[in-house]
Amino acid sequence: MTATRETATAPLPSLARASRHRAVLELKAEVRNPMSLAFTLLFPVMMLLLFGAVFSGTVNNSSGVTNSQLFVAGIIGSSILSTGLVGLAIGIAIEREKGQLKRLAGTPMPKAAYFLGKIASVLALAAGQIVVLTLIGIVLFDVDLPTSASKWLTFAWVFVLGITAATVLGVAVGGLMPNGKSAPAIVNLPYVALQFISGVFVPFNELPDWLRSVAGVFPLRWLCQGMRSVFLPDSFQQIEQGHSWQHPTMAIVLLAWAVLGMVLCVRTFRFTTD
């Protein structure tokens, strides 16, 4: 009798449908959690306002770029990594600890729907964040939207590659966290360090050359540099490392991190703790 029940003949929900449901649910939960939303959205806004106000004046070269414009680019780059990697890793560590992942694993939800839902909600959050940060930049700090199609194209691929790398790394790191309590410390420590050496809080051109090269191993430097190449005039290239935006290297490093993140996800991610 059990084998012929109607449950055996009706189709299982498709991956697309399940992913859409997951994405909507993730976004709902995200925007309703005031603490998480404040941390994700308001924190970079606050940093931008503070740094923009404290460090006025222009960068010491002939490009006419102000320090605040530099911060706008840096904090936009940084917010991509924060939403994807930091936010996801902490969120997933908590979900796992509370048994939410275990419950999902006990349902016929396609596992990929969980990840696709996360990616979709991170994309939406990051996009919203960039709009807010850019608007603040335009209104308060004389940032101009890029006018050429090639700059918008640069923006598009830096954003997509960057958010992809950040998201898969976030899932992988979240899966490796020992528990929800220690996750914020473990994730934020390297993130804050990276912010200092990648040109978010300290203008990148003021760092020693060797430190800039160290930062070049990690994705954050390239996210910030990518955003500088979008929002700052090309004359600024003179004081970048190698006197160029280094777009090819940028693409390779971000892609490498995205691939590494995916491999880590597939190899290490478990829904349960057994």
């Binding site: 055996a8 299982l12 449901h21 309703r32 016929p108 939800m109």
Partner: protein
């Protein structure tokens, strides 16, 4: 196909040198409610989670709805329902949102609104999970466990933290699931719950199954001697006898009618259970 929903032979699972499950044979028949009893650490949750496909066994054969849980796919998952001992969901979502959402994972789910009513959360439909009491969250767990119209339902200590009224309501819900032919594997600390719900109970201790029987006959309970208590002018009396009916007939003759404070008691399920667990320890 046999009519066994769950079949287990020689199940073993160790954590380090500790044998959590040490050679368990178990069969749960289709449409049966089977209760696993045992003290903390007896292996109830380990066995349940192996059957649910969460944990990997070290040895033995396991078949759940004809499938090895270690290889269970989405189709298999759609046929079982799980109420974990400690599951949680995102606090920011409402009861209705979650029940509808989980329904979307299944091919032929129950009507979410009916399920919300059935678990007694009608008034809390639009409340966020974080605002529910512990007992209400547990009812939501049950709602999410049955939403997929499972053929086999796992309930791991489902009524912990319920007040007596909520527990009765829950028993009623289980009765309705039984009426629809759902097979249920239940673990519980409450012996009266096992007695009220289960067709058969299994007593686990230290990873081994000591006995399997209907609650009424577990441990020779039905054949055990009975205690007859009554009161007369000399105070309370108590005798233990294999023939309680004869004792009561004699007393009735002696008192010429009503016997004051008459009680005839068999060992309770708890008495039998504690004796089994005690003998083992």
């Amino acid at each position: 196909m046999s009519d066994a929903a769950i079949q287990v032979r020689g199940l073993h699972k160790a954590y380090g040198s500790f044998a959590a499950v040490d050679g368990v044979d178990l069969e749960v028949v289709t449409s049966e409610i089977f209760a696993l009893l045992g003290p903390n650490g007896a292996g109830k949750t380990t066995i349940t989670e192996i059957l649910e496909g969460y944990r990997v066994r070290d040895g033995g054969e396991v078949s759940v709805l004809g499938v090895d849980p270690a290889r269970g796919d989405r189709w298999w998952r759609a046929r079982i329902g799980i109420v974990l001992q400690s599951g949680s969901v995102n606090d920011e979502l409402s009861v209705s949102e979650l029940v509808h959402h989980f329904a979307s994972y299944y091919p032929t789910p129950r009507d979410p609104e009916e399920v919300i009513d059935a678990v007694g959360l009608s008034e809390k439909r639009s409340s966020r999970v974080g605002k529910l009491s512990g007992g209400q969250q547990r009812r939501l767990d049950v709602a999410l466990g049955v939403i997929g119209r499972p053929e086999l339902l796992f309930l791991d200590e489902p009524t912990t933290g319920f007040d007596p009224e909520a527990r009765r309501q829950f028993w009623g819900l289980i009765g309705r699931l039984r009426g629809e032919g759902t097979t249920i594997l239940l673990t519980t600390h409450y012996l009266e719950e096992a007695e009220a719900l289960a067709d058969r109970v299994g007593v686990l201790s230290r990873g081994r199954l000591l006995a399997v029987a209907p609650p009424a006959t577990l441990g020779g309970r039905a054949e055990a001697s009975a205690t007859v208590r009554w009161l007369d002018q000399d105070g309370p009396h108590e005798i233990t006898t294999m023939e309680p009916t004869r004792a009561v007939t004699e007393l009735a003759a002696r008192f010429d009618g009503e016997i004051p404070e008459l009680v005839v008691a068999r060992p309770t399920l708890e008495d039998v259970y504690l004796r089994m667990i005690g003998a083992e320890a």
